[in-house]
């Protein structure tokens, strides 16, 4: 893969700026990442970072509508909140780049705090909560798995929040406090990718963001999750057709060197149609009709999760046994299988970076973790993983006493 080139710069107020020039189409993408996410929330006010993200679109000090002026110059935008960050991104025709600076700098300067906006976005977010998590079969499985997996770390709640009532209780005062405590130039990275020049971007950044004051951040040290001592199991019974099994193992955070071997293991397990779990559980033994492993690339120690649904006539014990067998098989991974997931990582990286937005996000995430080079180091790190690494991380992390399992039982269990 070609190296992604970029230039970087920092304003006196602490705002970090990265630029990657790409001129094949007349488009620019602006990515503004704030280093605040659900992990920074008060346990009694969960879901707040995400609610706040919605409020960022309700107008700022000098610009009553964020969306309209952007749409008028042919641009579009969106945002997302994770447990670690809140990320805003816009794409627009390259000759309209300054509009993005105008809009983003004004909402970093000061929001238009209004009770009416807050009330409306609360009800929008409550409907989002229902739509995504509560009104779907198995939709709350990960909401239930998290507090089993984490006992003290704030990853124990999801970005949407622990419960609807926390969102209902948010006040305008909370909104202001959050804004001044986290939405600061010294807590953000601005990335511009596309048909522009680094010099142009640096000048625009100085012009529009230069006079925004540094702020005193509310950041506090987060509790560290103690090592797990024994397997945890929880069972719930709901109106669903099949038994769902949701399993999680603790793994280190994104910057830990073991991350790459662990992530490749999820590919060996369930990446593509040749994934070992899919082949064994779905195709050969037909114990499950769906099984998927993910590694969660959290900033703090995260998880590998393994979600499956058991086919009728089969039991949890059969499923667990089959999963264990596959893990043992992966311990003895062949050179060919290892090469296969590495090749897949290479083509995925090529595909990912066909999108300017993904390049912008990749640079911003690396920078927020203190290493913008991460975007170029990731693929080589995958390619260096050895069979010995795979064996070591499986026996270190993917072991029963490091796991939490949620059994999601139907009312009419067989």
């Amino acid at each position: 893969m070609k190296k992604i080139e970029y230039q970087q710069f920092q304003l006196n107020n602490g705002l970090r700026i990265l630029v990657h020039e790409a001129r094949h189409i007349p488009k620019v993408v602006v990515n503004l990442l704030y280093k605040v996410g659900a992990r920074d929330e008060d346990p009694s006010l969960t879901g707040f970072a995400h609610l706040f993200e919605h409020l960022m679109f309700s107008g700022s000090k000098n610009i009553p509508s964020y969306d309209t002026p952007l749409q008028k110059v042919g641009g579009e935008n969106n945002a997302f909140t994770t447990n670690d960050i809140t990320n805003y991104y816009l794409s627009l025709p390259s000759n309209q780049l300054e509009t993005a600076f105008w809009l983003e700098s004004d909402r970093m300067l000061e929001l238009d705090f209004s009770q009416r906006n807050l009330d409306i976005q609360k009800s929008v977010v409550i409907e989002e909560f229902k739509q995504r998590y509560l009104n779907q079969p198995y939709g709350d499985a990960h909401l239930l798995l998290r507090p089993l997996h984490y006992q003290v770390h704030p990853y124990r709640w999801p970005t949407i929040g622990m419960e609807l009532s926390h969102i209902e209780q948010a006040t305008l005062e909370d909104v202001q406090k959050f804004f001044y405590g986290y939405y600061a130039p010294n807590n953000a990275t601005l990335v511009v990718v596309g048909d522009t020049k680094a010099d142009t971007v640096f000048k625009l950044a100085e012009k529009w963001f230069g006079d925004i004051p540094q702020r005193v951040l509310l950041k506090k040290p987060l509790p560290i999750e103690p090592p797990q001592q024994e397997a945890r199991i929880k069972t719930v019974t709901k109106e669903v057709p099949y038994i769902g099994v949701y399993k999680a193992w603790h793994i280190p955070g994104r910057m830990h060197p073991d991350y790459y071997a662990l992530d490749l293991i999820t590919d060996l397990l369930s990446g593509g149609r040749s994934g070992k779990l899919y082949q064994a559980l779905v195709k050969e033994q037909q114990i499950a009709h769906q099984v998927q492993a993910f590694s969660w690339n959290a900033y703090d120690p995260g998880m590998i999760s393994l979600d499956g649904k058991i086919a009728p006539g089969h039991t949890i014990a059969e499923y667990e046994f089959a999963v264990q067998q596959v893990l043992e098989e992966v311990m003895e991974v062949s050179e060919k299988d290892l090469q296969r997931v590495k090749n897949k990582a290479e083509s995925s990286a090529e595909m990912e970076f066909t999108s300017l937005m993904n390049v912008g996000l990749g640079l911003a995430i690396g920078d927020s973790l203190g290493n913008p080079e991460l975007i170029n180091q990731t693929l080589p790190s995958y390619l260096q993983v050895t069979k010995a690494d795979i064996q070591r991380v499986i026996s270190t992390y993917l072991i029963p006493k490091n796991s939490s399992t949620l059994y999601y039982q139907p009312h009419h269990a067989a």
């Binding site: 309209t68 509009t99 700098s105 929008v124 779907q136 099949y242 195709k283 066909t354």
Partner: protein, 443 residues
Amino acid sequence: MQLDRSTPPSAGPLPAPNFPAIQRYKLSNGLPVYCISFGTEDLVELQFNYAAGHSRESQTGLANLTSRMMIEGTRSYDSLALSEMLDFYGASIDIESGFESTTFSLTSLTKHLTPSLELLEEILFGPTFQEHEFKIYIQRSLQQLEVEEQKTTYIARKNFSRHLFGADHPYGRFTGKSEIIQIRLPQLVQYYAEYFAQGPQFILACGRFDTEVLLDGLEHYFGKNIYSGKNIPSAAQSSMVLSAAGIHEYPIKDTLQSTIRAGHLAIPRNHADFNRLQLVNLIFGGYFGSRLMKNIREEKGYTYGIGSSLTGLRYSGYLGISTDVANEYIAPVKHEIIFEMQRMQRELVSREELDTARNYFLGILLSRRETLFQIGEIVRNALSNELEFSDIDKAFRELPKMTPEDIQTLARKYFHPEQLVWVIAGKSGALTPTSTPNSFTSN
């Protein structure tokens, strides 16, 4: 100098569209190959397009299942070996089977294209349709659909087209549980022989590649097979549409939200008014700044999202509106949808609202030409809807001329609130039932 933050920076005109060149070639058997050189990554996407889909099947689901079973074993490789080899080269094959066509898309690193082509040739010309694989596939699909059946969005989607086009129309078809259960393996073998064995209608290549090398590879694997080139007629061309206006409720127990899908017939993709009507739809409900979104989400907070879209098919089309709402908001949301449709017909849009929507629309058209996949999809849609390539940029010529009067005229011509088909999945009884659904027919 104090910075003026309340005035937007001066905006120039949108950049001119520059769609990449499309080269047309033919293999020695006559099979057309379209090549588009695009992108900065060493990737290529090849699309093989077949005239197979709901409009060319005697039983719902045949095209879909046949195409999916084609990757489950071939003359030289079983299903696992195929998957492992494709994954080994970092390649992937996606299958899309719709109303009018079925497409196999191979994505590969350019350097690994040749071995992937060999596998694709096996899949397209040597599938073996094993009973064992078929059983597993059917069983797994049924179990997955059992979970889908609990989702309001799925139930609404499944029933919407049937009420909109009528159960006997190809565009009214949906491959659900009851359709899958009825399909037998010999039917797939038969379907393959009729619709796939004679080769694709065309191949479309997009990405970074040496054209000569690519054409040599395609010639080697696909230039010697039979290519009939015959046009297989679509049943959608001659079927009667029977649209059932009114309310159709699908109760689902213990649901917190209901899905509303509403719509009525509109125009096919190649209709002269299509691009212009897309702009009307955009103002009505087609983007974040639309009237539906502003009224129903941003002013009232009834939903996380609501949107409308204009779908242009080869022989028909429809305006569709879709949202998930709390049960208590079903009636008010329906009321607001009709109100906003009528407002598009009653009042002229302001110049400001028109300019914003048009610039947004054209800006997005430019912006979504970024990846080889997006370019490939635009060209495939043009080919399957029989549009001229010069029409790909037609919106850039047509939309700047549009006036508020044009928007109103089109809304009056094509919006018909009284003809809306309403499908509500979730809570029933929220709406006053209309006596009997009215039917609208057309060809």
